[in-house]
Symmetry: C2
Subunit: 329 residues, 2 copies
Amino acid sequence: MVTIKDIAEMAGVSRTTVSRVLNNSGYVSEDARKRVEKVIEETSYAPSEHAKSLRTKKTKVIGVILPTIQTETPSRIVTGLGKELSENGYQILLANTNLDKAKELEYLELLRLRQVDGIVLIATNTESELLDKIKTLNIPVVIVGQEVEEDIMYVTYDDYHAARDLTSLLIQRGHSKIAFIGVDEADRSVGYLRKKGFLDEMKASGLTVEPEWVQKAIFNINSGHHAMENILSKAVDTPTATIAVTDRLAIGAMSYLRENGIGIPDQMAIAGFGASEMSQYLIPSLTTIDYQNEMAGEEAAKQLLAKLHSKKYQEQIILSYRLLVRDSV
Amino acid sequence: MVTIKDIAEMAGVSRTTVSRVLNNSGYVSEDARKRVEKVIEETSYAPSEHAKSLRTKKTKVIGVILPTIQTETPSRIVTGLGKELSENGYQILLANTNLDKAKELEYLELLRLRQVDGIVLIATNTESELLDKIKTLNIPVVIVGQEVEEDIMYVTYDDYHAARDLTSLLIQRGHSKIAFIGVDEADRSVGYLRKKGFLDEMKASGLTVEPEWVQKAIFNINSGHHAMENILSKAVDTPTATIAVTDRLAIGAMSYLRENGIGIPDQMAIAGFGASEMSQYLIPSLTTIDYQNEMAGEEAAKQLLAKLHSKKYQEQIILSYRLLVRDSV
DNA sequence: CTGTTAGCGCCTTCAG
DNA sequence: CTGAAGGCGCTAACAG
C-alpha cells in the first residue's frame, strides 16, 4: 500500500508538503506541487480515510436510520439524501431497523461509535427516550418525517393541512359521511396529525364522524383491506367516502371494494396519501397527496451539511404538498 | 473522549491488558479482567473504529452499489444483506448510482479508498471494464443479479428457465401468438436471458415469433404502456398473450389494455417477472415469477463473510424461482 | 514556502 | 500473566 510517506520520498519533499497539496492548505511552491501531483498521479495514490479520520475526527460519513427500505417514502428520501450528500463528498452508512423500534436507539449508538459526522433519522415516532438519546449524542441529527421539539433539526410535511384539504375536497364533492383508515398515533405525523386534520375539517363543516368509520390499521396493504371490511360491516350508517393515511392502505381498501362489487367512486370514493407510483395506474386512479420526499431528503442533507460547516440554514422545515385529484373521488 | 489509555489508567493496568480484554485475546487474569470490565462499563467506553481500522486494516463495513433504491428488487436485496451483515457486526456503506453506469466504476474506487472489507454490486450489466476493475480491486466482491466469469463471486437467478417456464405456461393455456416486452440485452439477466428463454421455448414448441411482437422497453411503467401500444398497433397478426420482463412493464402494458377496452386475460393474457407487492392486488392479479430477492441478499452476505473469514462457501450461486400463476393468464 | 515533531487511538510483537 | 515500545497513515502546530 502506498502511503503519504512514499509519495513524499518519491517527490523529494516532506510528508507535510504532500499533505498540503492534498488538502490545498498552506503555501506550496508551484514546483513542489507539480512534482507531488505527478507522483500521486503515477502511483494512483489515495490517502487513507481512516488515518485521516483518526487525526481530524471527521469521517465524511452520514448515518441514515430508517424503518424499512421496502417502501416508497423512505426510498425516495434516501435517494434525495444520497444525491445531495455525494455531491459534497459524503457517503451514507445505512442502518435499517426493519420496523424494530428498539433498534433505533441501538443504531444511534452504533453510528456514534462509527464517528459518523451526522445522522439522519427517518422517524416513525417521537418518543422522549429517542429524543433524549439524540441530545446526548453530541452529533448533528436531522429527523425526517416528524415534527419535534425546537432544539432538534427536522424536516417534515404539513400533514395536518394535507389531511384537511383532502377531507375538504371530499366534502365539496358532496360527501358528508366519510370514513378514515389511520394508524397508531405514536406516529405523530401519519397517525395523529392526519387524523386530526380529518376530524377538524369534518367538525368545521358541521359533520359528524361515527366511531365505526374510524379504523386503525398497520402499514401494509392487507391491513387496508381489513379496515375497509370493518367499516362496511360494522357501520350502521354506511359512509360514501374513505380517506386512508397511506396509498397502500387505500389500495388494500380498494381491493376489498372491488371484491365486493362496490363501485369506486360512485358507491365509495377513496383517497390516500403519498403519491405512490402505482397510484396513477390503479383503476380508478387514486386521489392522493404528493409530498416531495426526495426534496425532503435533499433538505435534510442541506441542514446537516450547513451544521457541519457552521453555516446557517433553516433548522426546522415543514414542506408543503400537492393534492393530486384523480378519478377515485 | 475516553480512550483505551484512560481505561488503562483507571483500571490500574496497561493499555495492552485493556486491549486483551477488549478483543478476548491472550491471557488476562480474572482479577484484571474484572477491573477493566468494570471501568469500561462505568465509562461506557467504546474503542475507536478508526484507530482500529488503521491498525488492523479491517473496517467491518461492506460497500453496496446499487442502480436505484426506488424499485423493489434492489430494496429487497439490501434488506436481506442488511439482516445477515448486521447480525455479524458489519455495516453497509451505500452507493446509489441512480442508474448512471459510469458511477459504478467511480463508486468501486471510492469504496476501495474507504477500505471497505467487501463490496456487493447489484449489477445491471457485465461489461468487461467493470469486471476488470473488480479484479484489480483486491477486495472481495459479490455480484448480485448477473452471472459472470467463474473467478468472481456472484448470486443470481435462473432467469433463463424462469422465462421458459412462463412461456411454456402460456403455451399450455392455448396461446401460440405471444408477444414479449424486454429491455436492453446489455443487462444479461433481464435483457438477454429472459428473452432467450422465451424464444427458445417458443421454438421448442414449434411456434414462430413475429418481429413486431418483440419490443424493447426501459425500466419504467410508462415504457410498458408504450410497448403494448406498439405491439397492438404494429403487429399484423395480433398476439393473444404478452410476457413482460418486469412487473412494472406488465403493469404499464395492462394499463394500456384497459384504456383500450381490451380484456385481460380473454383478449390478451399477460405475465411479468419479480412478484412485486402490487402484482397480487391488480385486477386481474398478475401472473409473475417470484425470485427470492431477500434470500439473494442473504446469500451474497454469506459469500462475502465466508471469504472474509477464509471459510468455504459456494462462490457461484444460481437461485431458483417460483411461478405464481394468477388471474392474468 | 518547507520540514520537524508530535501525536490521533489502537493492536502487536517482544521481553519480562 | 503483564507491560513497554513501536508504528498504522495522516495532519497540525511550530520553527525555520
